[in-house]
Structure formats: structure tokens, C-alpha cells
């Protein structure tokens, strides 16, 4: 029995070591980023939202891109909640800076880099990710090769900056070295019955890939924090009667 426990402990230790070698470092308790949602956080290795790595977001339509931008801003708000600055590197940017305030970010703490040529985009993202003074870096890039993404991953392993890559209508979805790949699409908002108007932003969040974690799919609502929306009224009614 005692041997079994010891083996488990050794395995646990080895797992931790492997994770550390792969670039997951257990953040100190005070530097952890809490999404405020246990059900999402438990699929990640060590049950912590990985920071200091690259997260990749895929969107094809403009509507999905807007939902993805919203979700990314929400994450960014969590990453920047202790203050600090973020770089938003993109080409043909459509993000409207005042909207950041709705996600808990002071828009004047975000520096936008509006790159003129696609060629410079990757170089600039890599350069920004190597800068330890930043809280996070957002890059809007169409395509990225495996080698390119590996360079970014190496940069963040040194600097511990979190990178969010938004790939808008990518031509191909080749394997990349990113730690997680997300896909966000908008969901119809719900208001209390009978109330007119549009409700809070609501998304279908799919975690398609996460290194050393489990994939998942959640429906999330953003007010000024994440929440799981209550079941739709009809379903609730069905449950009650059934």
C-alpha cells in the first residue's frame, strides 16, 4: 500500500517536471490568473489557466471575429488586472478602443501597433513577446507556420509574457506550437422573459486543443465577469414539468 502511494507521488512529481520542461511553470499563488470559472480552469494542466504561453484563437466570419475579440479582451482584462501595459499588434485593425473599457481594461493602457506589411507582423509579435515589461501581447495574424509559432513559444518561455494570437480567417490550420487553441462564436443573448432589447454578450467557447489538458466546450456570458448562463427558460420549464 505504502509503495503504491509512493509510486503515485513519484508519478505526480514526474508529471510536474515534464510540464515544467515543456514550458508550463506553476505560477506563484499571487501571480495566478483566475478566470473566475472553475469548470474551465480544471481542464488545464495543474488546474491553472496557463500564462506565459501562447493561446491561439481561430475565427472565420466577421461575427466570430467580433466574439473572439470580446473573449480575448475579457482574458486580457484578467491578465492586466494588476495594472501594466499591453501591446496590440495587428494589420487592418478594427478593434474600437473604447470597447476595452467594457472588459475592465483602461484603453489608454493598451498600445496599438498598426503594422503596414504582413511581413513585419510576425517579427514584431516576437519582439514584443520578448519584452518582460509587458503584461500581455495580442497579435492579429492570418497565418503562422509551425516554425514561426515555435519562435514565439521560445520567446515567451524566456520572458513569461502571455501571448494571445488571433488568427482571422486563416488559409490553413496547420499544427502550431501554441499551448491552446480556442474557437469562439456568438450565441443569442437571453434576457429575463418579456424584457425587450439585447442582453449581455454570450459566447460558445470551444477549447479545441490544449497541451497536457483536456478539450472542452462551454457557453459563457460576460457581464463584468464570466458566468455560466442559466439554462434557457424553455429548457428550465421542460425540466420542471419532466
Amino acid at each position: 500500500m505504502g509503495q503504491g502511494v509512493m509510486r503515485m507521488a513519484i508519478l505526480q512529481k514526474l508529471r510536474q517536471d515534464i510540464l515544467a520542461m515543456e514550458g508550463f511553470r506553476m505560477p506563484a499563488e499571487n501571480q495566478r490568473v483566475h478566470l473566475g470559472l472553475d469548470s474551465i480552469e480544471e481542464v488545464f494542466p495543474n488546474r491553472v489557466f496557463p500564462t506565459g504561453v501562447i493561446h491561439e484563437f481561430i475565427s472565420t466570419e466577421r461575427e466570430d471575429a467580433a466574439a473572439t475579440s470580446g473573449f480575448m479582451c475579457a482574458l486580457l482584462g484578467r491578465l492586466m488586472h494588476r495594472g501594466g501595459l499591453c501591446l496590440w499588434i495587428s494589420r487592418n485593425r478594427t478593434l474600437f478602443p473604447p470597447a476595452l473599457k467594457f472588459f475592465g481594461i483602461d484603453p489608454d493602457n493598451v498600445i496599438f501597433i498598426d503594422v503596414k506589411s504582413e511581413k513585419d507582423l510576425l517579427w514584431m509579435i516576437e519582439e514584443a513577446l520578448s519584452c518582460e515589461a509587458l503584461s500581455a501581447v495580442v497579435g492579429e495574424i492570418k497565418d503562422i507556420s509551425l516554425t514561426g509559432s515555435r519562435r514565439l513559444q521560445l520567446a515567451v518561455e524566456q520572458s513569461r509574457v502571455t501571448g494571445l494570437l488571433h488568427r482571422i480567417s486563416p488559409r490553413n490550420l496547420m499544427n502550431t506550437a501554441s499551448v491552446a487553441r480556442w474557437k469562439i462564436s456568438p450565441l443569442a443573448s437571453e434576457l429575463e422573459e418579456g424584457l425587450p432589447g439585447v442582453g449581455y454578450a454570450r459566447w460558445n467557447v470551444r477549447l479545441e486543443r490544449v497541451r497536457n489538458g483536456e478539450t472542452g466546450c462551454w457557453q459563457l456570458q460576460w457581464t463584468d465577469h464570466f458566468s455560466r448562463p442559466a439554462l434557457p427558460a424553455e429548457q428550465a420549464a421542460v425540466l420542471k414539468t419532466g
Partner: protein, 499 residues
């Protein structure tokens, strides 16, 4: 050697400078005014205003009574002072020794310089012509002493060139104020009937001293050349430049880097000592075949860090073509600014942020992508969405007003609103469906309208009625109707996407 001095009087320096800055002022009568003992007093009047009888020292209220359409601008004494300094520096082409004589004069020591212009007359003519062509009303006079030249330039419109030793003759006809006396003394002289300097020039010195003080005698001696007068010439700032000749022609990148580092170390040492940082630097390489190769860098904040500037240059060293070799390097800093010692504390909002590191990162990005790629936004008090934010170039500027969240604003805003076709049931209701990029969206939920009027003092145009709508797929859009429903159907536009 007999010394010769030129005194220049820029009679309307402050107003002429304003006209140069704003040429449309040339035809209007305007005055510069500043508050004095609780009222606005004219400090300088331009020539048009002077023709109306307005003069320095008058209260603006009185002047307005005389001349109602008078334009009154704020006086900026430091601006006039700066202009005078610049003009003095410009005058160095006429003589190496130039001094400013505030508030509106210059003194040039022209000893031994005039023969280059072909004589004193041509020298003075050229000086006056150049200054007048810049737009300044100028009078000048040349004499053996500064005081005489000063007096003649201001009080004797006829003469300008006083021959050597001719001070006494010309001074005799001028009023005592021409001797730069204190206001009290010259007033007393007027009262006693000394209207001309000639009346008392020959009087016994002891009498003059007892009545008017030592000061008058000093001034008189200075004017006549019995005692010297000291001027403090301006010293033009030495350019921020370093040179490095090499014994043998340099051809490799490693050697260029070595040379560049040496130059940067020397330049940055000087900058750091003067509390300055460079915004722009230029490396010029003189090749042995006579060609010149140049690379330039810019920084987003003043920097005197060798490491940082070196890295910026490093990105561009590859573009230098040494060909047969380079035998002289020259490093220039054409744009230098004061570094702000408090900058770091302002920027350091959280403990982890290191302003210098970010500024250096931005410099590297702009060095590659161009100066205008870095954007930062601050809120502006406008409802019109395109005008609700303003671009700032500084990294430290803080918002003057709060960011608003009381109205919904989309996360993605189209750079230009795009036309959509809608089906709307009745005026002032949100549409039932709209067609955008060949796809029909049925609207399930809608909020609005939020009417945003065009700000008439900025631009003319129709108002916009914004609706926030959600289609059957759950996607949320920001659409607006341009203008009201009247005889012609208004157009609808899509302007953004909500998250």
C-alpha cells in the same frame, strides 16, 4: 585698432514675429497685451495699430474705446526673447561677436569684418536688407562706441553710419534719453531744459555728478568712447556631433559596429552630462572613393543609452555598403531633447512595468515599421463615435476625461460605415431584417435608437440613429439610420460588431 560697433533696433520685434507666424495678421491692427495691476495693458502695438494712435502702456479698454475692432492677443515675453536669441545667432554670419540687447536690440562687433562686404556702407545695407526681408522693421547704426550706435539707431532716423571719431558731433543733437539713462534722470533733464545732449556735454563733470549722479557721466563717457563698454557675446550651442577617423579603410560589419559604439559612447556621455537625450541620430560614413553612406534612427522618447541606440543602429548596419572602405565616421544628433527625470515614476503604474524597456521596444518596432505605427488613444468628449477618441503620440499622457461605458459600443468598428439594405416596419423602429454582403440577417432582438447628432461646429451632416441588433444566429451588430424619415427614404449603414 579702432573698434566699430553696429547697434540694431528691431522696433516691432514682438508684433513682427507674430505676423511671420500668422501672415493673416499683416493687414489687421492688433496689440499684444498682458495683465498689469488688475487691467490689461498694451505691451506692444503693431504698425497698423500705431497709426490709429495706440501705443505701449495704454489700457486695452481705452484702446478699444478709440478703435473698437482692435484685435488683442496675449503677450508672450519668452517668445520675443527666444526670437531675439535666434536672430542673434543668425547674425553670426556678419561677425563672430554678437550680443543681444533685450528687449528688442542686437549689438554686433563689426571690427575688421566690413571689408568682406566691400566697405561699411555695403555691410550695413546688407544687414538691414536681410533682416527686413525676414519681415522685421529694422534700424541700425554703426559707430565707434556701442552707446553712440545705440543712440543713433533709435533717435536719429537720418544718420546711420557715424564716421570714426564723430560721436560727439552726432550726439550733440540727440535728446538725453538716447544715453540710456534711468527714466527719472532723463525726466529731470527735460524739466531743466536740457533737450539736447549738446547742451550739457561740455559742462564741468563735478556739476553734472552732483545734480544727476555718477550714472550720467558713465553713460556719457561710454558714448564718447572715453571708457569701454563690455558686451556678453552669445555662444551658439556646439552641435551634438562626434567624429572618428580610422587609420585604415574599414570594410567589415564588425569594425563598423566597433566604431559606432565608440562614437555612441562619446556622444551619450555628453548627453547624459547635460541631462539630454537624442530623438534622432544620423551616422555618416565617408568612403575612400568619395561616396557617402548614411543610416538614420529615431527614438520615441529622448534616450542616451548606448546599448539601446546601438541596437537600433544594428538593425540598419547591413544597409551600409563599405565598397573599398570607410575612412571617417561621423555621428550627428540633429534632434536632442531634455530628458524628464520624473518620467519613470509617472509611467511605472505597476511594479512590473519598466518604462525604459517598453520605450526601447517601441523604438525597435518603429525603426522597422515606420514612425507612425505606434498608436495610443485617449477619450475625447464627443459622442460621434469617430471623434470619441484621439490619437496621442506620448506614452505618458493621461486621460483628461473618463472612458464612458454608459452606452453600448461595439468591440469591432468598421473604418467606414458600410451601406446595408433594410426592411423596417415603421419609422423609428428597428428594422426587421437587413442585407449585408449578400446575406440576409433576420433581427430577433434590438435596442435603440441612440441618436447621435453631428456636431455642427465641427462638421455638417445628418444625425445618426444607432440600433444595437441581434440576428437569429446570435450575432450582434451596430447599425444606424442616417437622417430622419421624410420624403426620401433614409439610408442605413452597418458600423460595427458587438462581441
Amino acid at each position: 585698432m579702432n573698434r566699430r560697433y553696429v547697434a540694431v533696433w528691431l522696433s516691432h520685434l514682438a508684433t513682427d514675429h507674430r505676423i511671420i507666424l500668422q501672415p493673416e495678421l499683416a493687414d489687421t491692427a492688433f496689440v499684444l497685451a498682458a495683465p498689469e495691476r488688475g487691467r490689461m495693458v498694451i505691451k506692444a502695438a503693431d504698425r497698423n495699430a500705431e497709426k490709429q494712435g495706440l501705443e505701449t502702456g495704454m489700457a486695452v479698454a481705452d484702446a478699444r474705446a478709440v478703435f473698437p475692432s482692435l484685435m488683442v492677443l496675449d503677450e508672450k515675453p519668452e517668445l520675443a526673447r527666444k526670437t531675439l536669441d535666434e536672430l542673434a545667432e543668425w547674425c553670426i554670419r556678419f561677425t563672430p561677436i554678437v550680443a543681444t540687447d533685450p528687449p528688442d536690440g542686437l549689438v554686433l562687433d563689426s571690427t575688421g569684418c566690413t571689408h568682406l562686404w566691400g566697405g561699411e556702407h555695403a555691410y550695413l545695407k546688407d544687414l538691414l536688407a536681410k533682416l527686413r526681408s525676414k519681415g522685421y522693421a529694422t534700424r541700425a547704426a554703426m559707430a565707434d562706441t556701442i552707446a553712440t550706435a545705440w543712440a543713433v539707431a533709435r533717435y536719429s532716423p537720418a544718420a546711420s553710419l557715424i564716421p570714426a571719431g564723430g560721436q560727439a558731433a552726432v550726439l550733440a543733437a540727440l535728446p538725453p534719453a538716447a544715453l540710456r539713462l534711468e527714466a527719472g534722470i532723463s525726466e529731470r533733464m527735460q524739466k531743466l531744459g536740457f533737450y539736447r545732449i549738446g547742451r550739457f556735454m561740455e559742462m564741468p563733470r563735478s556739476v553734472l555728478r552732483r545734480r544727476f549722479g555718477q550714472d550720467l557721466l558713465v553713460r556719457l563717457d561710454q558714448a564718447l568712447g572715453h571708457t569701454g563698454e563690455i558686451i556678453e557675446p552669445i555662444r551658439p550651442a556646439a552641435p551634438y556631433q562626434e567624429r572618428l577617423p580610422s587609420l585604415e579603410p574599414i570594410r567589415t560589419a564588425a569594425a563598423i559596429e566597433f566604431g559606432l559604439r565608440k562614437l555612441l559612447e562619446a556622444l551619450c556621455q555628453r548627453l547624459a552630462k547635460e541631462n539630454k537625450g537624442l530623438r534622432k541620430a544620423l551616422l555618416t560614413c565617408y568612403r575612400i572613393d568619395g561616396e557617402i553612406q548614411q543610416i538614420e534612427i529615431g527614438t520615441s522618447s529622448p534616450s542616451s543609452s548606448v546599448e539601446h541606440l546601438f541596437r537600433l543602429f544594428q538593425l540598419k548596419i547591413a544597409s551600409i555598403r563599405p565598397a573599398l572602405g570607410i575612412d571617417l565616421f561621423e555621428l550627428d544628433a540633429p534632434v536632442v531633447e531634455d530628458t524628464d527625470p520624473f518620467q519613470e515614476t509617472l509611467w511605472n503604474i505597476s511594479g512590473s512595468n519598466d518604462q525604459a524597456a517598453i520605450a526601447e521596444l517601441l523604438d525597435r518596432l518603429t525603426a522597422r515599421g515606420g514612425r507612425d505605427i505606434v498608436r495610443r488613444y485617449l477619450p475625447q468628449e464627443h459622442y460621434w463615435p469617430e471623434r470619441s477618441i484621439k490619437k496621442v503620440s506620448s506614452l505618458t499622457e493621461k486621460p483628461q476625461t473618463a472612458w464612458r461605458t454608459d452606452r453600448p459600443r461595439p468591440v469591432n468598428l468598421l473604418p467606414h460605415p458600410e451601406l446595408i439594405q433594410v426592411t423596417a416596419p415603421i419609422p423609428d423602429y428597428p428594422p426587421m431584417q437587413f442585407r449585408y454582403r449578400d446575406k440576409v440577417h433576420k433581427i430577433r432582438k434590438a435596442d435603440g435608437p441612440e441618436r447621435i447628432e453631428q456636431e455642427w461646429w465641427i462638421a455638417h451632416g445628418l444625425h445618426r440613429d444607432y440600433y444595437c441588433v441581434e440576428d437569429e444566429d446570435g450575432a450582434r451588430y451596430w447599425i444606424f439610420r442616417l437622417g430622419p424619415y421624410d420624403e426620401n427614404t433614409p439610408e442605413w449603414f452597418i458600423h460595427g460588431f458587438f462581441a
